[in-house]
């Protein structure tokens, strides 16, 4: 490839990512003309929405992180516990499980007619009301407790074996071991993890929409949706979006003060060969592991049980289901590939800036560009794109394309993080060698980059595909009766109380996500050695 062509491609990619993320916001601001942020802020209802958004996110974060610490310690202390690996697998399941699917399972267990209320009734206890703050917290903990646990477990696995042996010789037990050994390892991750979870909960959409149960428990994100979809009050939507942007940027800014990279918690966790001092409180550990497993597993079981029904196959074969399924596959695969290409391009540009041009700041700025989307509410992105394209095309006929683009952008920060490490590491150790041998362009990608990237590529595309397959936000905005995906179909069936059909849809969606996740990892698994003369 000639230098010119490479430069042109790089410039085109930067322009595309920058305009796809920033132009929609600009279009919105222009459309509104006059912003009424101050006016919005003085509205009592808006004030309540903002307060509630922050309050529920803070509570969710506190609960998830607080509960994850004992679970991680218990798991770390029992490296040979039989159910450990399967529990960790279930924990990773909740990382790829679509929000709506989990919500369905949670409703099956904790809803009005769910199992939990049945048990409470038998014990003569008052009914548990899922809808409102309770449900939001429960769902947020369901998703973020496993995330935090995995991050903390990686930190605990990072304690050097000599320290474990030392702590055993010095007679650290129970609380002393927590204070001297385990807490210091976890503490380094607590702030970063909390901010990550806070940001996720602050912008959470599907959970609040379905479990919030009304205007009392509404977050900014849901208020934006309502302003756009029901009131078509763009001025209000933009004001809300700017308020949310301000809060999200403040959170990110807080995060940069602590300067910690939160590991993405996708790394493999295998404590098989790790020695741990005997724990005196084995039964407590087992109890904690048991409760945590139950909490995460029950909704999955609840979902599967409610899907078992004679009508299972007829719902599967229904034309609407099949159409949504095909659309879901199309969206997931396309946005995973688009996302991977964008991420790879950005990282290669960043690498070139860092190692060849010695422009460290530019390199960071390129990576930051891919992360801007973290603070941009997806609905704002969608609405902005809607306004940008409306003069030129029938936006609803472009629904799938827009959904693909939005989902690819949303997955970009995750994919960037996963691919960054292998690309950066190889450049750090080998770039001078690569330069002196004159390996460049396509040869460099084919011979050096792709082989080292393959596992990370599989993982990142698997995550991007399952995130996109399960996303409700973008399709809720652009979807219609003509164009649905499985999440939208599931939402429609749930909100019209066709629970049987919803259960089948949810199981199908879950299986689709799992299939996409395993398939992309399988496709990029390194096979036995390739060409040799």
């Amino acid at each position: 490839m000639t230098l010119r062509l490479t430069q042109a491609l790089a410039a085109a990619l930067l322009l595309f990512v920058a305009s796809a993320t920033l132009l929609p916001l600009a279009a919105l601001i222009q459309q509104v003309g006059q912003l009424s942020v101050v006016q919005a802020l003085s509205d009592v209802w808006i004030q309540r929405v903002i307060k509630f958004s922050i309050w529920q996110a803070a509570l969710s974060t506190g609960l998830s992180v607080g509960l994850a610490i004992p679970v991680a310690i218990a798991l770390s202390r029992e490296p040979r516990f039989i159910g450990r690996q399967s529990l960790l697998n279930v924990f990773s399941l909740s990382l790829v499980m679509p929000t709506l699917v989990a919500i369905f399972g949670i409703v099956a267990v904790y809803g009005r007619t769910g199992w939990a209320n049945g048990w409470l009734q038998q014990l003569g206890l008052p009914e548990f009301n899922l809808y409102g703050l309770n449900g939001i917290l429960l769902a947020h903990v369901f998703f973020n407790l496993p995330l935090a646990t995995r991050i903390f477990l990686v930190a605990l696995d990072g304690i050097p074996p000599a320290h474990w042996r030392l702590s055993s010789q010095l007679g650290f037990h129970g609380w002393t071991r927590v204070r001297r050994l385990e807490w210091p390892a976890i503490r380094a991750q607590v702030m970063g993890t909390s901010l990550l979870i806070f940001a996720l909960c602050l912008t959470s959409f599907a959970i609040v929409l379905t479990l919030g149960g009304g205007p009392r428990a509404t977050t900014i994100e849901v208020a934006i949706y309502q302003a756009i979809r029901f009131d078509f009050d763009l001025s209000m939507a933009v004001s809300l979006a700017l308020i949310q942007l301000f809060i999200a940027i403040s959170v990110l800014w807080l995060g940069s003060i602590w300067k910690q990279e939160v590991p993405m918690a996708f790394s493999s966790l295998s404590a098989q060969d790790q020695w741990r001092p005997k724990s005196r409180l084995r039964s407590l550990n087992v109890l904690i592991i048991f409760i945590a497993s139950g909490f995460v597993l029950l909704p999955v079981v609840g979902l599967l049980v409610s899907a078992i029904d004679p009508a299972f196959f007829s719902v599967l074969k229904a034309a609407s289901t099949v159409k949504a399924f095909v659309n879901t596959l199309l969206v997931a695969i396309s946005s995973a590939i688009l996302c991977f290409v964008m991420a790879l391009g950005l990282l290669l540009i960043a690498r070139h800036c860092h190692y060849r041009l010695k422009l460290q700041r530019t390199s960071q700025a390129v990576r930051l560009l891919g992360n801007v989307i973290l603070v941009m509410p997806p609905l704002v992105l969608g609405t902005g794109l809607f306004l940008l394209l409306r003069p030129y095309a029938d936006v609803f006929s472009l629904a799938l394309l827009l959904v693909i683009l939005i989902n690819a952008l949303l997955a970009l920060p995750f994919v960037l993080r996963i691919l960054d490490a292998p690309i950066h590491q190889q450049a750090q150790s080998h770039d001078r060698l690569v330069q002196s041998l004159g390996i460049a362009g396509w040869s460099r990608f084919r011979l050096l980059d792709w082989p080292t990237l393959k596992p990370a590529a599989g993982l990142s595309m698997g995550i991007a595909a399952s995130l996109s397959a399960g996303d409700l936000g973008a399709i809720a905005l652009f979807g219609s009766d003509r164009v649905t995906t499985l999440p939208l179909l599931l939402y429609q069936r749930m909100s019209s109380y066709r629970l049987q059909e919803a259960a089948v849809t949810a199981v199908l969606l879950l299986l689709t996500c799992l299939l996409l996740f395993t398939l992309s990892q399988w496709l990029t698994k390194s096979r036995s050695k390739d060409v040799n003369p």
Binding site: S429, H430, R432, L433, Q435, S436, L437, G438, I439, A440, S443, L447, L448, P451, T452, K529, N532, P533
Partner: protein
């Protein structure tokens, strides 16, 4: 055939370096100095990984400064990471002939020959991870030889090896450089290595030679 450096200078952070040196074909020059004294900076300047702010650098009266690393009459054996872990030993060496790894059959013969020369016959199909540290450096050296560049830069290539392996590598290096009339620059913190290779010794003091 002489490598000439005349006040080749660069400022990195607050430290300014300036190097002058003259090394002819079939001579070995050893650069000594504490870590952080600027030994790697010198090799990075010669190799083309850093651009000097001023000064002259020539090989056989040809100006080297505008040339990219791959076009310089120079090849480097780095301290570590000379091999790509996912490519076989043979492929790693073959990159010295074609960076696209597209070789004719006589090229592959040359690859096998040079692997023989460094004492690694029959290891062509192995992945680097199966080789010891000394063997990995031999593969790196094999590729340097195959590139047929008149100037060989050795960047502490024996630093990470144990005493016995280090001795073996030194004799191998001595053999191959004398039979090929190479101009060698060796960066090391060990004066014994320099003596063994009958090298001219230079010491970097306050960023200058």
């Amino acid at each position: 055939m002489t490598l000439e450096l005349e006040n080749v200078s660069i400022t990195l952070g607050t430290q300014t370096f300036s190097f002058s040196l003259s090394a002819r074909a079939s001579e070995v020059h050893a650069i000594l100095g504490k870590s952080g004294s600027g030994k790697s900076t010198l090799l990075n300047l010669i190799g083309g990984f850093l651009t000097p702010s001023h000064g002259r650098m020539t090989w056989h009266n040809e100006n080297l400064i505008p040339l990219p690393p791959e076009d310089r009459p120079i090849t480097t054996l780095f301290q570590a990471h000379n091999l790509f872990d996912h490519l076989t030993v043979r492929q790693n060496v073959a990159l010295g002939i074609s960076p696209k790894l597209k070789l004719k059959s006589q090229d592959w013969d040359a690859v096998n020959q040079v692997l023989d020369d460094v004492g690694l016959p029959n290891r062509g199909d192995a992945l680097p991870i199966k080789l010891s540290g000394g063997e990995q450096q031999r593969v790196g050296l094999a590729r340097c030889l195959l590139r047929k560049r008149p100037v060989l830069l050795l960047d502490e290539p024996f630093g990470a090896l144990d005493e016995t392996t280090r001795g073996e590598m030194l004799s191998l290096t001595k053999d191959v450089i004398s039979s090929r009339n190479l101009c060698v620059l060796l960066v090391t913190h060990n004066p014994d290595d320099a003596d063994f290779l009958n090298a001219f010794k230079h010491t970097i003091l306050n960023g200058r030679i």
